[in-house]
């Protein structure tokens, strides 16, 4: 397969699956085609990674472009997408069996999930910053009805907040894109290619600084919205807690990272246009603020899914701080965190979805003695939570270690210290809540937990992936280091 065709696969395969789901009347067909599409994305990601090396490939018509960083993101989309679509089949079966949803709504769900995956792939593969914006906004559009899938008052509320807040943020990013386009043209770029990433990179040093500052600032805030960065973090917990579990997994595990990968592109641009200080300070302040808010809200959290959502926020804060460091090691560590976080969130949200299904509630107070009631789910959640808070042998540890070393190299040790103190508070909260749910005897009258295959398989696979990523060196970390170089890391 030619490289430019290969690049189209991550966008095309989910769209094909979406079409299949739209016309198919058989649930098994649409389900399997969805899983197949995710696996195709994963395979394409790996193939792209193998092909691009340390350079980049631009497809025909300058619509798509792939480099190592994009390959990493495609792989993340593929892995988490596969886990989430697999769990999605079970989720829909259960909802249909309970009569909680209709076949039409189920079809809508499957179509939208695939469109969502396609939009995310486009966001990381688009060559044109404007198209990137279109793709990111498309993720909002695709997920709006997924968040509101359950049609309760709360999910409606969450959807409204999600759409309005994200739209405001992302529109600001568009404003930034427009201003950047203006600046790019005035820096001598041709109007048709003024927003292409390579053109921008080559023209960066000629951009008018004042205009570029405004553009970059708006883009950082705007794309930061979808990454959950402060102050546009307010949609996140509501949307993640109300969405169906597999969708939460995708949003928390991938969407945030995809948005952040755009922030990373903007950071690379800002570094060459404005010098390294501007984006670094912005990311540092935003990252630490995000960490602070996330951790504060973790402390007395009462709902498992909101807990997971705020822990995603916490990870995004950490990632932003790491991006501020901007060294090769820090960025590579960041990408490892992104990968691991995607997988761990898939595991945890899928497990949480199962618990919510069984208990009819995701309130922490209602979930007791899980380890005793279901050793498999208990162990998976326990491993997931330990992995989430960054303990070895899970992959987040390796990422955080690399970030810490990168930050020390970048003379950001004080910021690292502050971030770690906040992370310890977050750790304490998660451990506390986790212990309350998992350990000890179950409360009388707790329903039995029967873990079905669509839950067990992705959960176990996810934990295994997490351990492998955390223990083994080899090609993947190497790819991450290449990606970091591509993203302009020093």
């Amino acid at each position: 397969m030619s490289v430019s065709a290969l690049i189209a696969v991550p966008v095309g395969a989910p769209l094909v699956a979406a079409a299949v789901a739209l016309v198919s009347r058989r649930r098994s067909l649409s389900g399997w085609s969805g899983i197949a599409a995710s696996l195709a994305v994963l395979a394409a990601g790996i193939a792209i990674a193998a092909r691009v090396g340390s350079g980049h490939v631009v497809a025909d018509a300058h619509l798509l472009r792939a480099d190592a960083a994009a390959a990493v993101m495609v792989i993340v989309i593929g892995v988490v997408g596969a886990l989430a679509t697999f769990a999605g089949v079970g989720y829909l079966d259960a909802e249909l069996a309970d009569g909680a949803t209709t076949p039409a709504a189920a079809r809508q769900y499957e179509v939208l999930v695939q469109v969502f995956l396609a939009a995310m792939s486009l966001a990381v593969l688009a060559d044109n910053l404007g198209v990137v914006w279109v793709a990111v906004e498309a993720t909002t559009v695709a997920t709006a009805f997924l968040v509101g899938h359950r049609r309760t008052r709360q999910s409606l509320e969450a959807t409204w907040k999600y759409v309005v807040i994200c739209s405001l943020g992302i529109t600001l990013a568009f404003f930034g894109v427009v201003i950047l386009y203006f600046a790019s043209i005035h820096a001598g770029a041709s109007p048709t290619s003024a927003l292409d990433l390579d053109v921008l990179a080559s023209r960066a040093s000629h951009l008018d600084p004042a205009t570029a500052r405004l553009a970059v600032g708006l883009m950082l805030v705007g794309f930061g919205t979808k990454a959950g960065l402060v102050p546009f973090h307010t949609w996140l917990a509501d949307a993640h807690s109300q969405a169906p579990a597999p969708v939460s997994a995708l949003m928390s595990g991938v969407l945030l990272s995809v948005a952040f990968s755009v922030v990373l592109r903007v950071r690379a641009l800002a570094d060459s246009a404005l010098g390294p200080g501007f984006a670094r300070d912005w990311l540092l302040v935003t990252g630490l603020a995000t960490l602070l808010v996330a951790v504060s809200l973790l402390v007395a959290q009462r709902d498992l899914k909101r807990l997971l959502a705020y822990s995603s926020l916490e990870q995004m804060g950490l990632i932003a701080v790491a991006a501020a460091a901007g060294t090769r090691l820090a960025i590579a560590g960041l990408l490892l965190v992104v990968t691991a976080h995607g997988v761990v969130k898939a595991v945890l949200f899928i497990s949480a979805g199962e618990l919510q299904h069984v208990h009819g509630s995701s309130s922490i107070a209602d979930l007791t003695g899980i380890a005793a009631r279901s050793p498999l789910l208990g162990a998976a959640i326990g491993a997931g939570l330990l992995g989430l808070v960054g303990l070895p042998p899970f992959a987040l540890f390796g990422g955080e270690l690399a970030i810490a070393r990168g930050m020390a190299d970048a003379h950001l040790a004080p910021a690292l210290g502050v971030a770690l103190v906040l992370l310890v508070v977050g750790y304490a909260s998660i451990v506390n809540h986790g212990a309350a749910m998992l350990l000890g005897p179950a409360r009388a009258g707790s329903p039995a937990i029967a873990v079905t295959r669509p839950v067990a398989v992705p959960v176990v696979l996810g934990v295994a992936v997490l351990v492998v990523l955390g223990v083994v060196g080899g090609p993947y970390p190497h790819l991450l280091e290449t990606a970091a170089t591509v993203l302009g890391a020093r």
Binding site: V131, R151, W160, V163, F182
Partner: protein, 220 residues
Amino acid sequence: MSAHTYATLVDLAAGALLLSAVLVVWRRDLQATARLLAVQGAALGAIPILSGIRRGDVQLAVVGVAVVALRAVVFPKLIAVRLRGELAHEREGAPLVNTTASLLVTATLVIVAYALSRPLVRLDASPAARAAPVGYALVLIGVFLLVTRRKALSQVVAFLVLDNGIDAVAFLATLGVPVVVELGASLDVLLAVVILGVLAGRMHAKFGGTDLDELRELRE
């Protein structure tokens, strides 16, 4: 079209944009704001059409027509349809800040917008670009409206004002962004507005109103 006429017409369109935005701030009635939105859309669409005519750029003129169709016709229509079934008091914009204060803030925002757009105007002294600060002002006013309006549809209106502002900057300063971006962005905005409309409908059905203060169940 002479340069002077062009400049005058563009200035006029820009003036209409700003005026309609200020009036949106002023008026509480949602139906009136929907009509103002139509005017604003038409003024916005006029800018690429004028530029297209002046430069003989058909594509640009077509884009202008599309903008007019979308922003002067479709969006106001969507809002009007959604409003039809509602009671009179539901059509009130119900701002958090009273009108006088809102207008004062708007004046401040316009001044900020002029200051903010100085670098842009410095780079490009064309007549259209000199009107670009109006776009900035619309963006800021849009944000302000979004923050202070408590009804679902009034937030949609605010969102559209904001979007119009960005488009205005695009057309005034750079004759629009690349077509693929423009198309994609318009589609996205359309879908977002449609989604918000549907959600407002569901909200009406579930809550018996679209007062956003009702949306306080999910909180910390």
